[in-house]
């Protein structure tokens, strides 16, 4: 008798477990949290995103290293949007590069009370943060570098981010568009970097300004940014390309 009782409990537990699991996934669907549900594969990414946001302590810092740990660093993806022979050539970038980024500025728009733009020296005048962190590329390699920049949270607050904003979308000169949620945008180590290893950020690594999202895979740290948009909707580059929107894993 007792044995039978256990079996029923077990089966019920499995059914409850399954229901909870699908319930979690459904919640993700109905609330339209990223990533979008284009296909089955992205269900896993959605579950990972949900699990990370639910289970992980949100603002824990990634490991920071000693100066001696700085390593060689491959430049991949777009390595110069000003190269006319390049796949993602941008004429404007070529012009601003030739004037040493003196007439470059970062646009901020969307759900902010003070939309506008910031020059490089304005950004450099903000409180800065320097961090030596590990870059984890989706390809499988890692590299350590020192990054100097202004915390993204500072810029967003300076521009007066509105309560309705839920995502921060980045637009780059090479045509790349991507976004992060506010949890990552307000992470203390998420910075807009203008310096690398004590020098001005080199062109292959995203000059004059790149994002560093240390809690996600390398491709979220987009290079050559020209515009930031706070929004209640997110840009999902991966709908067409198949790449995951959330890559904390």
């Amino acid at each position: 008798m007792k044995k039978k009782k256990i079996i029923i409990t077990r089966r019920n537990a499995i059914i409850t477990g399954m229901a909870t699991l699908s319930g979690l996934m459904l919640t993700g669907c109905s609330k339209k949290t990223p990533p979008t549900y284009g296909n089955i594969l992205r269900m896993g990414d959605a579950l990972t995103y949900l699990a990370h946001r639910t289970l992980l302590p949100g603002q824990s810092l990634v490991k920071e290293y000693d100066h001696s740990a700085i390593s060689s660093f491959p430049a991949t993806g777009t390595t110069d949007p000003g190269d006319p022979k390049g796949k993602y050539y941008n004429k404007t970038y070529r012009q601003i590069h030739s004037s040493a980024f003196s007439d470059w500025s970062l646009k901020i728009e969307g759900s902010v009370s003070k939309p506008g733009s910031y020059t490089l020296s304005q950004l450099q005048g903000f409180p800065s943060r320097t961090q030596i962190t590990r870059h984890t590329c989706e390809e499988g390699w890692t590299a350590i570098a020192e990054w100097t920049g202004v915390p993204l949270s500072h810029v967003l607050q300076h521009a007066g981010i509105k309560p309705g904003a839920r995502y921060v979308n980045f637009h780059a000169y090479d045509g790349y568009i991507d976004s992060i949620d506010l949890m990552d945008a307000f992470h203390p180590q998420t910075i807009l970097a203008y310096g690398m290893n004590g020098q001005a950020l080199p062109v292959p690594h995203g000059a004059p300004l790149r994002v560093r999202v240390e809690t996600q895979i390398g491709y979220k740290s987009i290079k050559y940014i020209k515009k930031i948009e706070a929004s209640d909707t997110f840009v999902d580059y991966g709908v067409d390309t198949g790449w995951a929107w959330y890559t904390g894993i």
Binding site: G17, M43, S72, P74, A75, R134, W141, I144, A244, G248
Partner: protein
């Protein structure tokens, strides 16, 4: 009695054991396949925190056209010191299918982890591990290990008992897979995640860094594939049809 009498069967595989076995089997195949696709993108393995095309590798596997492609511009030093780390731009269009490869890997990993944890829970609560997997103290002695090894070497494999009436080496290999290799492969996998290691930095410590974790992940996977091959061979030798029946819907 060492060789079980196939006509005297009392214990059968439990339904939850069969179910979790097959879910884990499918997710393992998908993980091994997508894991190989991911490895093909960067077939170099390292030790420590850092490893990339501009740093030395432990070894490199000739499994894709990315193998030693050498498509890099002249390097630029970051510092004016003698052995300064360098930067270089890639000129070679690498083979990269990680978009779906990674997503498939993580989706399958969810099935493996959720099923695996449920299995561990039921296994402890129902006494399945104690009853069927942990060798008894009488069973676990040099003499019986010796006999079992000898029998395996002679390929005198006991016929299928139709249930969890396992031999000594069989129990040991299952225990290694369940309590060592699968947890190891899952934990080293998590150690490659920047969000996870931000929350749980001890993972980087116990596996000696992100790249070491990747290398251990690779070797643990290879060990699991070897186990799978031996497992299938043993099933064939001990009676494929009957084994499959007792592990599926058979009586």
């Amino acid at each position: 009695m060492h060789i079980a009498d196939p006509n005297h069967i009392t214990v059968k595989h439990k339904r939850w054991v069969k179910l979790s076995h097959w879910i884990i089997t499918i997710s393992f195949f998908l993980l091994a396949f997508s894991g190989f696709v991911i490895l093909m993108c960067h077939p170099r393995l390292y030790w420590g925190e850092v490893g990339n095309d501009l740093t030395p590798a432990l070894f490199e596997l000739p499994v894709s056209r990315n193998y030693q492609h050498g498509g890099w511009e002249k390097t630029t030093a970051f510092f004016e010191t003698k052995n300064s780390p360098v930067s270089s731009s890639r000129t070679y269009d690498i083979w990269n299918q990680n978009g779906w490869g990674r997503s498939l890997h993580f989706l399958s990993a969810w099935f493996l982890v959720v099923t695996g944890l449920s299995y561990l829970l039921w296994g402890s609560l129902t006494g399945h591990f104690k009853r069927n997997l942990f060798p008894g103290s009488k069973e676990f002695n040099l003499k019986s290990i010796g006999i079992d090894v000898k029998n395996h070497l002679r390929l005198t494999i006991r016929p299928d008992s139709g249930g969890p009436n396992y031999g000594l080496l069989q129990k040991s290999s299952y225990l290694i897979v369940i309590f060592f290799l699968l947890p190891l492969v899952a934990l080293t996998g998590l150690t490659m995640s920047p969000a996870i290691t931000a929350a749980y930095p001890f993972l980087l410590k116990i596996f000696f860094g992100a790249q070491s974790a990747r290398t251990i992940h690779f070797f643990a996977s290879v060990a699991l594939v070897l186990f799978l091959i031996i497992h299938v061979v043993m099933i064939i030798i001990s009676g494929f049809k009957k084994q499959m029946r007792s592990m599926t819907w058979g009586k």
